[in-house]
């Protein structure tokens, strides 16, 4: 009989997206949820020892086998596809959406001080952002948020694991944007429509 650990490892190896605990449990229905979660923890520890070329990354609410970042130079020679490239304006916009979502285009532009329609569109096309719905204010503007692909691309477990913003002393802004609540953390379920 094959061990649960070997099964989970195989699943992680073959899966093309990060596998969540829920997904693993639905595949391995004959096993206990706790056993599966313990098994993943074991694998995490084993891959974490750092002797192998791959490690188990905790991304987008699940786990995915990834190559070690130290080996990136060699892998780039292997991989002919162009790497993800983000312009400064893309990164700026992504950061604002990531920390302030759900957010409208007007709010992004207020924070950046420049027209951001083009950048938002590009980020939507790259699937880094998604439309969460429409805001219940005059004009019903679209609300943007980050996607699962964003978490995957930036090696983030969930939105709560975004690096904390450097707090600005004293003059913590209290302006028209402050009407929004705290960031919708944690996790991916930020489908709020306001």
């Amino acid at each position: 009989m094959t061990s649960l650990k070997s099964v989970v490892e195989s699943l992680l190896f073959v899966a093309d997206t990060p596998l969540t605990l829920d997904r693993l449990c639905s595949i391995l229905e004959e096993h206990d949820r706790r056993d599966i979660s313990d098994t993943v923890a074991e694998l995490l520890a084993e891959y974490g020892e750092g002797t192998r070329g791959i490690y188990l990354a905790e991304v987008a609410g699940g786990w995915q086998l990834r190559s070690r970042p130290e080996n990136a130079d060699y892998l780039r020679r292997l991989n002919r596809s162009r790497p993800y490239r983000f312009s400064n304006s893309s990164l700026e916009t992504l950061a604002i959406v990531a920390y302030r979502q759900p957010i409208t285009r007007a709010e992004v532009e207020y924070l950046r001080g420049v027209d951001s329609g083009g950048v938002l569109k590009t980020l939507l096309e790259k699937k880094m952002l998604r439309i969460l719905g429409k805001k219940d204010i005059p004009g019903r503007p679209l609300i943007y948020g980050t996607s699962r692909e964003f978490l995957e691309a930036f090696n983030l477990k969930d939105l709560a694991s975004l690096p904390t913003l450097k707090e600005v002393q004293e003059l913590t802004a209290r302006d028209l944007l402050e009407q929004q609540e705290e960031l919708p953390l944690p996790g991916l379920n930020v489908n709020s429509k306001e």
Partner: protein
């Protein structure tokens, strides 16, 4: 600050365009330029010498305008804000009884708040870029094992070419009977209405066959509206078109979660990406 030298202009006929691109990369926007000036002059962000900074800011704008007139839109708004702040600082405060809280605040406070807020996100952007990026620092296997691909042919979807989409549309259009009589009266179906109908139809399904979305579209006009609605949905990234195999039926795959499957109006479509 470099300006295109004559040599550049001879070498590259569209050097204005080239310089323009470099410039926008250097400064993402007015905040970026202002922060740069504040840093360069080593002044306290809480106590910005507005006159000096504004003068330098306008000098930058001058050079930018020499290169390309269009780029200064957002920058000009900031220039007028700076000048307004300066004039408010110069004006005496109104008589006592009229002083509200707003008037007592340093005219620069609002600008400083926004600059600091912007700086916060700019730093966040830098730290995002320093993470172990997928496809740059860390890689995943991006292919399905061949044997699995055979078991699950659906996994191997081909993206639909424009030509095939038009072919499919022609096929649908051909099934609509030629109308031989003259009809009076407007049909009143808009693309936005049809988009909402389609979204309802697609809700909860994995994919729908392209042709099936035309069921119930009896007239040529309705067929065309349905087709335009599908294109619009595509453009908004709300559906994806794919084929399981070459020349197979075209599948319309909803890409949005239920939260966004809310009514979409024509203004929505144009407003953000006009």
């Amino acid at each position: 600050m470099t300006v295109a030298s004559p040599a550049d202009i001879i070498l590259f006929p569209d050097s204005y365009q080239t310089v323009y691109t470099i410039r926008t990369e250097a400064f993402e926007g007015p905040f970026d330029l202002l922060l740069h000036l504040i840093k360069k002059n080593e002044v306290d962000i809480y106590n910005i010498p507005i006159a000096a900074i504004t003068r330098q800011y306008l000098d930058y704008l001058d050079v930018m305008q020499e290169l390309n007139l269009d780029i200064a839109g957002d920058f000009l708004v900031m220039a007028s804000t700076l000048i307004q702040i300066k004039s408010r600082m110069l004006l005496p405060l109104p008589p006592d009884e009229e002083i509200g809280e707003e008037d007592l605040e340093d005219p620069r406070a609002e600008l400083v708040r926004r600059l600091l807020e912007y700086q916060k996100y700019r730093e966040a952007a830098v730290s995002l870029a320093q993470r172990e990026l997928l496809g740059r620092d860390t890689f995943v296997r991006d292919f399905a094992a061949p044997e699995l691909a055979e078991i699950e042919p659906e996994q191997e979807r081909l993206e639909v070419e424009l030509f095939e989409l038009i072919e499919a549309f022609r096929r649908v259009l051909a099934t609509v009977p030629e109308q031989t009589f003259h009809e009076v009266g407007a049909e009143g179906l808009s693309i936005a209405d049809r988009i909402n109908e389609l979204l309802l139809l697609l809700q909860g399904t994995d994919a729908a066959v392209f042709e099936n979305l035309f069921i119930g579209s009896a007239t040529r006009e309705q067929v065309i509206i349905t087709f335009l609605a599908i294109l619009e949905l595509c453009r908004l990234n709300m559906v994806r078109l794919a084929q399981a195999r070459s020349f197979g039926s075209i599948l319309v795959i909803p890409t949005l979660l239920d939260a966004a499957a809310e009514a979409v109006t024509e203004e929505d479509l144009d407003r953000d990406f006009a």
